[in-house]
């Protein structure tokens, strides 16, 4: 299972990094999502991998798993989910406004005229 989780994180990160380095907004946002999935799984695994154990105290539980990473992951998921929505909206606004979805500064941009 360790191999499975580790390679899942690795593949997601590699794919995410490749997409983040693309030129246009859409692949970059996809890459961001892959990276956040990778980091969520990574955070989850940071409390050691335990199968079938309870995170919360109870009378009939004999083994426990670390509950803190689960709380951290929950926070991270909420933030990354909201942020993806925000960047999609801003990216869409920028694309509709200037009819161009490059993420970098365009060299042919006129130097002046903007107030």
């Amino acid at each position: 299972m360790e191999l499975l989780v580790a390679s899942a994180i690795g593949i997601l990160t590699a794919g995410g990094l490749y997409l983040v380095l693309r030129l246009r907004t859409f692949p970059v946002i996809l890459g961001m999502s892959l990276l956040t999935y990778a980091v969520n799984v990574f955070l989850f695994a940071s409390g050691r991998l335990t199968v079938g154990a309870a995170p919360i105290l109870s009378d009939d539980a004999t083994r426990y798993t670390d509950p803190l990473p689960q709380a951290l992951v929950l926070t991270a998921i909420v933030i990354s989910f909201g942020m993806t929505a925000v960047v999609v909206m801003i990216g869409l606004g920028a694309f509709l406004g200037s009819d161009d979805d490059h993420v970098d500064d365009q060299p042919d941009e006129p130097a002046g005229g903007r107030s």
Partner: protein, 513 residues
């Protein structure tokens, strides 16, 4: 346990929610509450700074849970000084936003401004690394909204870059936190400081990776070259008051580096040796160079100011990366100076924009209100370039003095002095093109005269300039105080014991039988 220390976080949060829910269509009410809130923050900041100026450490345990199980807010000299600096800066920036009408050019300026303050204050006060991440997110989310305030295509495009770059930074932060938790099993800074020193020399791989990742994250926030690419476009395109407030955001990165790398990974820790002098110092010198060369090369005033921010952050990081008490004291003095000077310059750029067709550095008809604006520009440029008599000069002197006697003194002195010269040339070029050459250009006869900036705008800029002058006049006292801050940072035992030994509601009573 004093409750005041959480007020800088709670007050802006409540105000922002109130303004969104109850006063979203009432500009006057929003303005009044915003100014009142920031004034209260200044008062609270003064009180907190006064409270800890004797060297004590304030602790606030949320829900009365003892560290490391609960989240704690910790106020020592460093964090209360940064809180006070933020509050004072926010006051003048807010006055400028109201005076120039920037807050009226889009929705929700004031609530976002308050949320931004909440994030910054929380980042300065928290004693927990994951909580630091959360407050970073709060300040970033608010800054995304502020950055694209008032809209416009150029601004939205710069906003996309800004958001994406910071999202990648947040992801890196999470990776760093995950590795730290996997290695140590805690995220409380004081607890980490204890546990990291217990890690044996043979299994330091994970913690070293975590330390480097964390440094990368903070370096992105502090815009250290080569992680600075997000800054020029976004700061240049952001509304001027927002860019001026962002002057404190790069300092959040610098603050986090100082805090984490004195407390958790101190310079004498074998695990992270080589991180500061081998990696951070060259990067800092490079930032200084690229920033100041950018000042010389910029074709527009707002870009020029943005590059001068990178340069001054380079200066701060040079002082930080030396990691001696003397250099940290110099860095803190320079942080205050660079925050004020950067904010002043962004506001001046907006004063120029109000009375001019655009910000291109080409000869154009005389700027409306040119006398006062150019006088302020002169003061701001002198401060930022580090010429005598203002605080930039004193700050650079302190940094150079603290570098004297280290191995790389020749490099540091050479680069600091030559980049100062480049900055002087860059600023004088910009100033002469903007304000002197304008007199040789005649305005078109039918062009309508552009409006002068309002009096309140000048009051705000003048207030910041007065603070810069005060920072110069009282340099001795300020430097003495930053020296005590640095001394406190390099003797973290009281901090650690205050955080870890204060009992909470679930702690076993120790003395009761």
């Amino acid at each position: 346990m004093t409750h005041w220390i959480i007020a800088p976080v709670v007050l802006p949060a409540m105000l922002a929610a109130f303004m969104v829910l109850a006063a979203r269509h009432h500009r006057v009410i929003q303005r009044a509450f915003s100014v009142a809130g920031v004034l209260a923050l200044v008062g609270i900041g003064l009180g907190l700074a006064w409270d800890v100026s004797d060297g004590s450490t304030l602790l606030y345990q949320l829900s009365d849970w003892a560290a490391p199980f609960g989240i704690v807010l910790v106020g020592d000299r460093l964090s209360t000084m940064m809180v006070l600096l933020t509050a004072v800066l926010a006051l003048f920036v807010l006055l400028y936003a109201i005076g120039s009408g920037w807050d009226d050019r889009g929705w929700h300026f004031h609530p976002l401004f308050q949320f931004q303050l909440m994030g910054i204050m929380g980042a300065f006060l928290t004693g927990d690394l994951f909580n630091l991440f959360v407050f970073f997110e709060v300040l970033l989310i608010a800054s995304y909204g502020l950055m694209i305030h008032a809209g416009g295509n150029a601004r939205l495009r710069a906003g996309v870059q800004y958001v994406l770059f910071n999202l990648i930074g947040s992801t890196l932060f999470l990776f760093a936190l995950g590795s730290i938790y996997a290695e140590t099993g805690t995220l409380n800074m004081a607890d980490l400081a204890k546990r990291v020193s217990l890690i044996g020399p043979e299994d330091t791989v994970g913690i070293r990776v975590a330390a480097v990742l964390l440094l990368l994250v903070f370096a992105i926030k502090a815009a250290v070259v080569p992680l600075h690419f997000w800054l020029p476009s976004s700061y240049a395109e952001a509304p001027a008051p927002v860019a001026a407030l962002f002057a404190i955001m790069t300092k959040v990165g610098a603050y986090a580096i100082i805090r984490v790398y004195t407390l958790v990974f101190p310079p004498d820790l074998a695990v992270t040796s080589g991180l500061h002098d081998l990696w951070l110092l060259p990067a800092a010198l490079l930032s200084l160079t690229i920033g100041m060369v950018g000042v010389l090369a910029a074709k527009r005033l707002d870009r020029l100011v943005a590059f001068s921010i990178i340069g001054s952050m380079g200066m701060v990081m040079v002082a930080i990366s030396l990691f001696t008490p003397e250099s940290i004291a110099a860095a803190l003095y320079y942080i205050v100076h660079s925050t004020l000077a950067g904010a002043v310059l962004f506001l001046i750029a907006d004063l120029v924009r109000t009375g001019r067709a655009n910000l291109d550095l080409t000869a154009q008809p005389v700027v409306a209100g040119t006398v006062l604006t150019s006088a302020f520009f002169l003061v701001g440029a002198i401060a930022m370039a580090g010429l005598p008599p203002l605080s930039g000069f004193i700050g650079k002197l302190l940094v150079m003095q603290s570098a004297y006697g280290t191995n790389l003194v020749a490099w540091i002195w050479a680069i600091v002095l030559s980049t100062s010269l480049i900055a002087v040339v860059g600023f004088s070029r910009a100033g002469s093109v903007l304000f002197w050459k304008a007199h040789s250009v005649t305005a078109e006869a039918d062009a309508a005269p552009l409006p002068r900036p309002s009096a309140l705008s000048y009051v705000a800029v003048g207030g910041l300039v007065a603070l810069l002058v005060a920072h110069t006049v009282f340099a001795g006292q300020v430097q003495a105080y930053t020296t005590t801050i640095a001394a406190q940072l390099f003797a973290p035992e009281p901090y650690i014991s205050t955080v870890l030994d204060t009992p909470g509601k679930m702690s076993e009573p120790k003395e009761d039988p």
